[in-house]
């Protein structure tokens, strides 16, 4: 709708819409927490035919994450895009594209049917690419095209899987499909295709080739959205399929394979981040590594499932993975925003240019440091809770081989985070003239960084929310299946 507005009205409208959307997400989460799962069938048709919207704890957690990050990034973007140096290209299209993207993300978290999920993920992908190329600079264009081709290939693989599933069970609704799945080779192929397609979109090693260039060449608020939210969307979808739909048919080997990819991503991404000289590339590579952590969730929950639904580490693995997604979302958004401020002020994103950052941009450095602490997983922070839970799950489940990956990963992360901060403390002899940066930008980056730390103090609420229709409560699920 924003397309219709004249350019100067777009930012305030966008901001207002952002606030309303975020508020709605929080309200929905509240309602779900109080009343339990919500299901709404559009047009009044029932599950097999109609299109259902469905909100449970998992979707609410992601909705709220998107709401919080989205709102703060919107505030940041408003200042960012009113700067004279960011006016080139088609930046006035930011607001409509971003709101479409946000809408599609929310739609995705709420969709209850496979095909709807396809549509939303495609819209997310297209809007994300459009945002990437917003500046119109050649590197961004090339990166955007690469991203677009990868995204199309990914969603087509997913759609192929949907077709095969429809072919064998004649249904698209997640719950209906979950109940009528019996196994068999075509289902396995379908599952493989869907997961592979989504892995491309989530940029899991070795399918991450498109991510660093795309995320680093986009403009700061866009990078934050891409890294914090867009890759989480396809992660959410994999998780949803894995635990809700293909619950019975996933094998231990498949879980281990995903875990191995995740582990490789942790090591490779963090190592690459350590090697980068440009800050934005560093942060983008760090996303590859941090996404890897989330995938360590799969071998843990899969083995738990094979060994009985009440395996003691299940809750740890589950919380750890989700918490990693949350903490990374907040911390990475903070980091990209802070780096954005820095690039604006200094005019360079060379890692060596951060000299005396503490003295010159204390607030931004603080945001960077808070986000870094959470990424490393030092207590007290969201990242710490995530790594604690994952590590505990690996020990309890006896899959100790993931533990070194987690630890080496945080060690490498510490390496690149402190490489930046170390420079930041060095005073300069020659004071460099800084360009003034709007205060709102610094504040939003700091708020996001603080949020990444603060969620480490209180996991209870998130856990409570996750508990609503948690996929492992067999009894609850069976009862609800009867109701439909």
């Amino acid at each position: 709708m924003c397309f219709l507005l004249p350019a100067r009205l777009r930012a305030p409208t966008g901001l207002a819409v952002a606030a309303v959307t975020a508020a709605a997400a929080v309200a929905l989460a509240w309602q779900v927490a109080v009343d339990g799962m919500i299901r709404h069938n559009l047009g009044g048709w029932d599950a097999p035919l109609g299109i259902g919207l469905y909100a449970d704890g998992l979707s609410c957690v992601f909705l709220v994450l998107t709401g919080v990050v989205g709102l703060l990034v919107s505030v940041y973007a408003r200042s960012f895009f009113s700067l004279p140096e960011e006016q080139e290209g088609a930046t006035k299209l930011f607001w409509p594209l971003w709101l479409i993207l946000w809408g599609a993300l929310n739609g995705m978290f709420l969709s209850a049917d496979l095909f709807n999920l396809y549509v939303t993920i495609e819209v997310v992908g297209l809007a994300a690419v459009a945002l990437t190329v917003l500046s119109g600079r050649p590197p961004a264009l090339v990166a955007g095209l690469r991203y677009l081709l990868a995204a199309i290939a990914g969603s087509m693989a997913y759609l192929m899987g949907v077709a095969l599933i429809y072919g064998s069970v004649s249904a698209l609704d997640l719950q209906v499909v979950a109940q009528s799945i019996e196994g068999g080779s075509s289902l396995r192929v379908a599952f493989g295709l869907m997961i592979a397609g989504l892995l491309v979109k989530t940029a899991v090693f070795p399918l991450h080739f498109w991510l660093p260039s795309a995320h680093s060449s986009a403009q700061a608020p866009v990078s934050a959205i891409l890294s914090a939210l867009v890759v989480k969307a396809s992660f959410y979808l994999i998780l949803r399929l894995w635990v809700d739909v293909f619950d019975g048919s996933v094998t231990v080997a498949a879980g281990q394979a995903l875990g191995a990819l995740g582990a490789a991503a942790v090591l490779w991404g963090s190592y690459q981040a350590l090697r980068q000289r440009r800050l934005k590339l560093m942060v983008a590579h760090s996303t590859v590594g941090q996404i890897g952590y989330m995938f360590l969730l799969f071998p843990l929950i899969t083995l738990a499932h094979q060994g009985g639904a009440d395996a003691p580490w299940l809750i740890h693995a589950w919380t750890g993975g989700i918490y990693q997604a949350l903490a990374h979302g907040l911390a990475k958004a903070a980091m990209f925003l802070a780096v954005g401020v820095f690039v604006l002020a200094v005019g360079s994103d060379d890692r060596e240019a951060t000299v005396d950052l503490v003295g010159r941009l204390p607030m931004t450095t603080f945001a960077l440091a808070l986000a870094g602490v959470s990424l490393i997983g030092l207590p007290p922070s969201g990242g710490f809770v995530a790594k604690w839970m994952l590590l505990k799950a690996t020990f309890t489940s006896g899959q100790w081989w993931w533990a070194p990956v987690i630890l080496i990963g945080s060690f490498l992360t510490a390496g690149y985070v402190f490489m930046v901060l170390r420079q930041a403390f060095a005073p300069t002899k020659t004071p460099i003239q800084l360009k003034p940066v709007p205060r709102a930008m610094e504040v939003t980056a700091l708020l996001l960084g603080a949020a990444a730390i603060l969620i480490g103090f209180r996991a209870e609420e998130v856990l409570f929310l996750l508990d609503v229709e948690a996929p492992f409560q067999e009894a609850v699920e069976a009862e609800e299946g009867g109701g439909l």
């Binding site: 095209l145 677009l148 290939a153 087509m156 192929m160 077709a163």
Partner: protein, 104 residues
Amino acid sequence: MIAGIETHQIYAVTAGLLFCMSLGGLFLCGHFFKKIIATKILGTAVFLLFISLGKRNAMEFADPVPQAMVITGIVVAVSAGAFALALARRIWRETGQSTFEDKP
């Protein structure tokens, strides 16, 4: 018609072949335009599979749900393709680059 094989099964097998071929094309061809064509064929393969599903239960009439999905899918695919073409053209105009390997 070969005995035992229905038309929709031929469609389905063709779809599978096309899918693999276009994936290969997407990764192996260097030129932007070829890559974009490959994604289009990829889409076609998927839609073909959907259409073949519509007839599989030897019903009196075709199952309408896959058709509805295909229509939606085509709309999405066309816009994605248009977007990709526009991007490729813009890149070519600005840098003269037509593959990912070229350094501008």
